[in-house]
Amino acid sequence: MKNNKNDAGVPKKKRNFFVRWFRSAVLRKHDLDYDSSEVIETPLQIVAQNFFSKKSALFGLIVFVLILLLVLIGPLFWQLNLGEQDSTLVHIPPGYAMMKLPKELKGNVRDIAPGRTYGVGINKDGHIFTWGHTKITERIDIKNIPDAVLEADLKYISSGDDHVVAIDTANKLYVWGNDRRGQGNFTSDMVGAQKSGRNWDIIQLEAANQCSGALDRDGYLYLWGNTSNMDLKIRKQYQGHIAKFSFTANEYIALLDDGNVAYTGFKGKGSPFSEIPEPLLQGKTVDIATTSKTMAGLTEDGKVYIWGKVDRHEGEVPEFESKVVELYGGRFHYSALLENGSVVSWGENNFGQTKVPSSAASNVEQLYVGYFQNYAIKEDGSEVTWGLKGFPLGTDDLGRDMLTRIINGGRVTMLVGAIAVIIATIIGIILGGIAGYFGGKIDMFIMRIAEIVGGLPFIPFAMILSAVIGSKLNPQQRMYLIMVVLGILSWVGTCRLVRAQFFAQREMEYVTAAKAMGIREFGIIFRHIMPNVFSLLLVSMTLDFATSMLTESTLSYLGFGIPLPTPTWGNLLNGANNSIVIQQFWWRWVFPAAIFGLCTICINLIGDAMRDAMDPKSVER
């Protein structure tokens, strides 16, 4: 009586839902009593149990499945744009802090200059701070601010592609960063103005692609820098009448003091930039802005007009819920500050430049926009940022995101590997099965073919084949060609394996029994014998999959596989064949090599564990 409580039964170990599902779906093990679970234990379950009891196999399987999911689902989130390239984003190391304001600047901003991959800012005391990736070259770093600048009380600051200009409250101009292209060579009238102080009360400072500009309160514009790719001249009639100016990649426009927009440089006529929309020429323009290839003007009534080479959605001006007050341009996007204190961005959205966070919907006081970054300072002094934060795995020599390319490259590599293995396996099964089952002359003939194919020097042959046929094909067809070439050249191992297994299996009595049952020969080969060979085949397929991926990568690395710009894990490493890349841009080869290595190791772990699991002799009882 006392023990009644204990006799009620040993409490069954409660399994959570996932474990129960896994046991029933994968292991087909139901939570039944001992006897019945003993009865329904298929060979597959035994193999699965053996397999899952190995830690290395489980590790390999989990990591492989994660990688597989990443490359299968990843491309939906990290979309590949084959034409993507940006000279301003080349060789950026991994990082995610391009818009992280230093704490000294928080709530204390006088000016911010969003740079290419960095930011420069001045606090209310005129002190300067930098953040993000400031390294321009091995030698030049924006972070190396001259001592004079550090001590000065700075008023305005602006950053270009590779240099920064700043002016202090005493109107003293500073330039640092890359000055090899004349970024620091002031024009003679500037030098004169600086000396005399006449016409040198700077109200706007801009820096762009290796050039800079400063605007005097009286409408005098000074431009200096690399004149070879920039239209850096001002037509005489405009000098002294300029109210605001803005740089594109190779040109600039100006807003005149009469409220008209003008192309004040010399390139003018014929270029798309000189075709200024009519409403902006009626003396009612209040603001202008530019992106790299387009220009925009804002009229009194809050209407925005875009012109230039509009090909990155810059022209898709949204409906504004309130009047636009100020207009700002990044590299490929515009942001507008509205009267109600909210911000609207439009244009290209590769890095989330136009995805304005909800916190920037009100009370925005000041907006700083440049390149791919937006900084909004709210009335309470807090900042809201959106746009390019950085690249988690860096960028390559054309400014493409390595993460996107690794994920998409993995998809291509795995697809090529998988299809090559499937082709090889199909050929191997058919030829090996026929050779092994029929034997004799057929076997002799097939095995001689196998020897010929197996004797071909693989890489040179694949190179020749892809070079001869591949030159006439587009990249997509070339990918199929590589799959087929890999498949056709690598079936020999599978064929031998299947044949050897068939030799063993066809002597088994069940084959004779099946024959006596009236089952046709191909039925016996493929439906009766093949399942007996399949376990071994599965192992060899798994291991061949890794090999195929490696071979594809070898070919792509050598430049005979899948051509750029389509990424594969092999041709991502293609650029890493010189010491400069290996030493300085480690992220370009470390990440692809690491994930690829991890992936092949995992596949091999899975294959090995499967072989052990299926081989009854390997299990010690």
Partner: protein
Amino acid sequence: MALLEVKDLRTFFRTKHGIVKAVNGVSYSVETGKTLGIVGESGSGKTVSAMSILQLLDANGYVDGGSIVFNGKELTTLPLKEMYEIRGNDISVIFQEPMTSLNPVFTVERQIAEPFMIHQGMSKKQANARVIDMLRDVRIPNPEVVAKQYPHQLSGGMRQRVMIAMALACKPRILIADEPSTALDVTIQAQILKLMNDLQEEKGTSILFITHDLGVICQMADDVAVMYCGQVVEMAPSRTIFGNSKYSHPYTEGLLVSIPRLDTPVHQRLEAIPGAVPHPLRLPPGCKFAPRCKYAQPRCHEEEPELVNVEENQVVRCFYPDKEARQDGRFE
């Protein structure tokens, strides 16, 4: 007219060293509903003669001559396509090794369902329902459970029952049982043989029973053919052979006396046939059994005896078929 008539069958094998005449002029017939037992040592050609019926010979084997007529059809020259229709449907086979003659990766259900599906065009569902009936017919307990099991989960006797179920699936006219009980232990053997006898009575199947076990033959067969070196040396009703017949072949006689019996005195040595089966490529010129025959005469080593009809239903391939006469040394 018999259901299956094998006449002067000669099945040869090409080997590196020459042609092996595994079956050399064998004739026998199987009547409807009857059991023909074929006895002989290993290599005497009993299995080969049965496999010739279904054209199940190895790649190097071929039928050199003779005829096999089943149900009015000549089987030796039958195209493979028609042969597929006969195999498993009209004539099916049970093999010696129940351990290996089931496909290890298929469930029992799938193995038995296959003949239904290929010969009777049943759907998988219909076939699976019939499988349960078949398993019940061969007296398997829990047919629903066993149907889902794999061969390795079954005992030898169970597997052989599954084999029988598979062979009987399409109600064949003839069942070729190639040593079906050899690999089983004695109690299971008895069960299986009883099962086969019962099923034969139920379904009226003819059985071609191949074995080297005279005890089994005695239990099973209506007629017995004794084979030696690819030839039938004696054929008679079972009762005649195991009874006190006046005539017999010395080989049959040797086989019968070499069976251990309960009533033999303890210290008496078991009689055995001396020597071994001659190598198939170096057969003696005269009677194939002469080198081992204790009654052999000079004539036996030179001339080959024909099958002699010594009594009604009994044929013997011997110059001296009279038992008493040769035991007494009268060779006339």
